[in-house]
């Protein structure tokens, strides 16, 4: 889930990426837009932006979640799926979305345009780590230095755990992230980083620890083919944010519904599918860690995005 902006504003690749995103999202969009026109709820549709969630059946999951939120808020709710945080962020900045689930890294970069709504609780805490994973057939590697000259998979250039943290770790260890690997590439999803390492496309990868752990419950065959070589420090979990111009009542309403999910059987079921314990009201300083490493990294290296 939660990945940040894609680069390459022009070029064929961008249009290709957009096409792919459209393909993937088309069904979802139609479902999301058409469904809420059901009676009882009045007012405009609440639009929530999201990127690839780790779940395989994310379409049905988001349908179910939208249904749940609609029942709770008594307003039509639609999830707007995009392939990257860049697109979600742009939509949010353009007031095309009411809420969005983004990564901590784009949040700290666009703090002025976003308002923290809620932060997920993973293992009862709003924190997570970045994992350095290698293939399980590689029993020795335990740090970035061990992967010198190999092939490395990042998840997304706008991901904290999948890009910013590994950059920081390497710089802190005195390594040059641009020269360390023979080749590196982006998969634009944490799950795909796991797949790339598991299938031998990459020798190592940086992945959201929460995603890896959840995958190990849902798809243990895949994660079994990878091994956690190192874990980073804890950082603020990717939060849900609202556009700055959001109506206060609407903001509070959504906050109430999200934090109240554990109290409702249907909400608990949805949380269970997300492998989360609930949503908490956020604190700004939760993301100070990310701000700090972003500052550290950007003074030493030009970041990809």
């Amino acid at each position: 889930m939660m990945k940040c902006i894609r680069r390459m504003p022009d070029s064929a690749a961008a249009s290709e990426g957009r096409r792919r995103a459209l393909r993937q999202a088309a069904g979802l969009l139609l479902a999301g837009l058409a469904a809420p026109v059901r009676a009882q709820s009045a007012g405009a549709t609440i639009r929530i932006g999201t990127t690839a969630v780790i779940l395989n059946d994310q379409v049905s999951f988001l349908d179910e979640w939208a249904r749940y939120l609609r029942t709770q808020i008594r307003r039509p709710v639609a999830f707007v799926h995009r392939n990257s945080y860049r697109e979600i962020t742009e939509l949010l900045l353009g007031d095309k979305l009411d809420f969005a689930w983004v990564c901590g890294y784009p949040y700290v970069r666009h703090r002025q345009a976003m308002r923290l709504l809620a932060v997920p609780l993973y293992q009862r805490r709003p924190l997570y780590r970045s994992y350095l994973i290698v293939a399980s057939s590689d029993p020795r590697s335990s740090s970035f230095a061990d992967l010198k000259g190999r092939i490395f998979a990042y998840s997304d250039p706008n991901s904290n755990s999948g890009y910013l943290v590994p950059q920081y770790e390497m710089l802190r260890a005195g390594l040059d992230p641009l020269a360390l690997f023979q080749k590196s590439f982006f998969t634009y999803a944490h799950g795909k980083v796991v797949a790339a390492v598991a299938k031998g496309i990459a020798h190592g990868g940086a992945v959201d620890g929460y995603v890896w752990e959840t995958l190990s419950l849902r798809n243990p065959e895949l994660t079994r083919r990878t091994r956690i070589a190192a874990k980073s420090d804890e950082y603020g979990f990717p939060p849900l944010v609202a556009r700055r111009s959001i109506d206060e009542a609407e903001f509070r309403g959504m906050q109430r519904v999200l934090t109240g999910m554990p109290d409702n059987p249907a909400g608990r079921s949805l949380l269970k599918q997300l492998n989360l314990d609930g949503f908490a009201l956020p604190e700004e300083r939760l993301f100070d860690g990310i701000s700090k490493i972003l500052a550290y990294v950007s003074t030493r290296q030009r970041l990809v995005s």
Binding site: A13, R20, F185, K192, G200, I201
Partner: protein, 485 residues
Amino acid sequence: MSSAVTRLSYRYKVPLSLSVVIIITATVLSAVLGWQAYRDLRGGLIAGAEGLGRTLSRALLPSLLNDEVWSAYETIMAPLEGVEDGALPQKTITVLDAKGVVFVSSHPNEFPLLAPLASIGPGYAQLHHVIMTQTPHSPEQFEDRIKDRILVAVPILADDGTHLGTVLLTYSESLFLPNFYASLKRVIVSTLSVLLVLVPLGWSIGRRMAVPLTRLTEAMAQIGSAPRAQLTKKLYRGNDEIGQLGRQFERMLDELEEKQNMEKQMIAADRLAAIGRLTAGIAHEINNPLGGMINTINTFKHHQNPDPEVTQRTISLLDRGLAQIRDTVAALLVEARMESHALSPDDVDDIRMLVEAQVTEREVRLDWDSELSEPLPLPSTPVRQILINLLLNAVQAAGQSGTVGCRLHCDNRLLVLDIRNDGETIPPAVLEHLFEPFSFPGESRRGLGLWVTYQIVQQLKGRIEVSSAHAETRFIVKLPLPENV
């Protein structure tokens, strides 16, 4: 093999040949169909690979342009979804960059990323060379084969024709082998079912074709033992070769019948001629003394009161004439005296002594070889007579200073007398009538010697054979020894 083939009846040979031809035809057809199926399946596989390669080469263009490994990986993995991989992957898709280095592969263990294709394994160096020299200039795909894999390479070209890389697909031959075996099985099953119909059909047609021939053969085998009508009753009547053979056979039967009739007539004529000759001989032999006696009686009648001397002379003349006639008749009525003692080696020695005088007189060389060492259960008198007759004949025939051979031996419960001379060869015409009495008027013993010999041999239940050729005339007499002795 060939003897077995020649021994085999046409009743089996024709249907067997037809069946063999049918089976060979069916087998060749199945082989051709099987080969065709192999070609088609393999061709289909390659065509499929080429189509997939072309599709992928378009889809991979942006990933390759933007160096997006993962997106390229997802693109090439899409067509491989659900493909089960064993030890050897059935399908692999690998993307090479413009330098022939692995950009991404569905099977990175086999085609590690960033490895030059040439380093993958034996055979790939050549492939690498071909790809690097060929694909940049040709939008055509080509196929190759490494181990049990079919390889298809399709170039990835930018819109302006720049060579960006190559899609390399490898298909295991095991991918189409199961299909091929299934096709082969279908071909074999249908061939077998066709054979199941055709072979019995061919067999029965073959049987029917052979029937006229076997009937003809059976008819021929029955010649002489079955009536003619029965022989020709079942014959096949047609205008082909076997029908013609049947008609020829009937014509042959006709001719055979005619010949048999002619032979019968000839035998009858021969018999009549022999009787004529015999009658003439007897008449001649009796006429001579008869004439003499009639003259004597006439002369006697002219004498008035013949004195006893004349009477005595007349009676003596008549007596001698009658004796001559009696001798002649007696000679004709040969009767072996069986009451004589058993033949002993002494008898043989006697005979040798008896002929010795003649032999010496004529200066004939006599080769004598008798294996007789003990008495044989055969009457001595007739055997002695046979031996004397044949020996005297031989001495006579051998002429001055000739050679006569005489050999006696026991062979297989037979006494064999083998007498030969090197005198003049007997002409075949004479040989035919050799044993007939009075055949050669003027000869000594009035030509009765061989007749008598023949009769005695007959009475002893033996056989006499004569041959005369190349200055050797030979008589062989075989006398069976009585078994109860």
